[in-house]
Symmetry: C2
Subunit: 318 residues, 2 copies
């Protein structure tokens, strides 16, 4: 066990957002974000964690035929002109920021679209960027569905893999929404010594593809967050867009999870709400040095199928 003398305390604020309307102005959204950043700083947090696509409505629920409207959901740069008030406030208050946004990137002269997040430290410096790897949903609209889930149509698969960075006195990684259901994503961060994983999400309560799963949405969200944290001996923050957004009900249930897998703080509402916890990053060591001492206990020779197969196949033969 870590002694108090060795503690590496980090006060984290998970800033849950209520719904954002399809036509809500960027200025109105930024006012909400700045209010949360100010409240987080007033609460003594060193980091405020905003959710996936925190600047806009969750637009992959629609088929958007108008290119101007579609492109209007994207940012060319974050931090950038469209988000300056947010990062100005954070730097002034000396608080780090994590935020998810729709990214338009020009790579070798070609335009690409990603579901991205960025981590900025307390001085305003960009620590790391992440482009979502596990895009759920469909490329083509689903006939008869009240809402679509067109992430595979709106975004490309992130091209940078899973990364962790030294930041805020520890090692910090980012995942986005559906990534949290994939143990491979957590493990690649765990193998980089991650101590704090930040996960923003927009999770609908109803899945037209599998209505029978709806009753389990909240339990499965908690399950994967708690398992990811425990099995990689890391703190984890899951921060939601909640409430009913443009008629679609979203899971709120913002959580902060300890390396034991225990939930130490959670949201009480479905709207804009700050969830604070003091995370002692040193606690990760009590698991990383014992049951999850990877060097002592992992057996990669037995794991080959994880990279050799994409889809499930038949049982291995003798």
């Amino acid at each position: 066990m870590s002694s108090t003398a060795r503690a590496r305390p980090l006060r984290v604020a998970a800033a849950q957002l209520g719904p954002i309307g399809r036509h809500e102005s960027r200025a109105a959204v930024l006012r909400r974000l700045v209010a949360l950043v100010e409240a987080a700083a007033a609460g003594g947090a060193a980091l405020v964690v905003l959710p996936e696509l925190a600047l806009t409505s969750f637009f992959p629920r629609w088929v958007i035929d108008d290119p101007a409207e579609f492109e209007g959901f994207f940012e060319d740069a974050v931090p950038g002109p469209g988000t300056q008030p947010l990062f100005d406030a954070a730097r002034r208050l000396g608080i780090g920021v994590h935020i998810g946004y729709a990214e338009r990137a020009v790579i070798d002269g070609a335009v690409h679209h990603f579901n991205s997040s960025v981590l900025v430290d307390r001085s305003g410096e960009v620590i790391g960027r992440y482009r979502k790897v596990h895009l759920p949903g469909d490329r083509e609209p689903r006939a008869g569905a009240a809402f679509q889930h067109l992430e595979k149509r709106c975004f490309e698969t992130g091209d940078g893999g899973f990364r962790a960075w030294p930041a805020l006195g520890g090692i910090v990684g980012m995942l986005i929404c559906n990534d949290r259901r994939w143990p491979e994503a957590w493990r690649v961060l765990g193998l980089q010594g991650v101590e704090l994983v930040l996960v923003g999400y927009n999770t609908p309560l109803h899945n037209p593809e599998a209505p029978g799963h709806d009753a389990h949405v909240k339990a499965q969200h908690r399950l994967v967050m708690q398992a990811g944290a425990y099995q990689n001996a890391t703190w984890a923050v899951a921060v939601a867009k909640g409430g009913t957004e443009e008629g679609q009900a979203l899971l709120a249930d913002t959580l902060i999870v300890a390396p034991s897998g225990e939930i130490v703080a959670e949201s009480r509402t479905e709207g804009d709400e700050l969830v604070l916890a003091d995370c002692d990053l040193e606690l990760t060591g009590t698991y990383k040095s014992t049951i999850f001492d990877f060097a002592a206990h992992r057996e990669p020779r037995a794991y080959g199928l994880i990279v050799e197969r994409r889809g499930a196949g038949p049982p291995l033969q003798d």
Copy 2:
């Protein structure tokens, strides 16, 4: 969702065991096992699942200097002369059997020791064998500990990897105890289309290596079983040795978990007890064809570190 017409029902009996004494006779243990097999068959089960090291006390808790006593805990063959009454009863009753045992194997003329399990079908035919890959604990005794956990001293790492087999109308895989904490183990089974994972365990309630974790033992056990089942869209059976065995308290908490991650049946005692559930193997398809359609959603290019690193290392560089 699967319709009733397509259901593939399998009634499974998880046969929890209470303590087995260090000097308890094999005949006495077999009487207990046969009673559980008979009760499972009487309850209509197609498969009875016995725990890890179900024939003996959990002997890795001791430093055993007497080679004769140490070797006495091992079997040269299961099914075999030492377990004939168990498999005779199962074949007579037409019920499949999973059992964990300490295996002594002669390979290329050399003697090896494994922590193993075997799956036998309803006609008495051996379907598959598994040798535990993730051995927890120590090679050398821990000074001052009331109980040791010397699995790395007693056994070699399993040499056959993680396997699943067509059996009992589905695809069945086996893990043993500590394996259940490792998402890689589950995933290698998931990538073989597994629909039912059998996990026997002997989990002490007190961990001398990390006493601070003791309060979380039960929650973490449930967490990894539920996450492993959900993230691989499989039924899962966790079957315990429980009670106080030779002065050491063991976690009971035998569970049967659905592909949703929901616990559908669990033990109520710490002793010999049968936990029954009707598992519709077809339910795995509602997840395997949607959110966990691996071919549609996995991204192995981003998973390389899982096989490239054994232990955690520094964050990846740009």
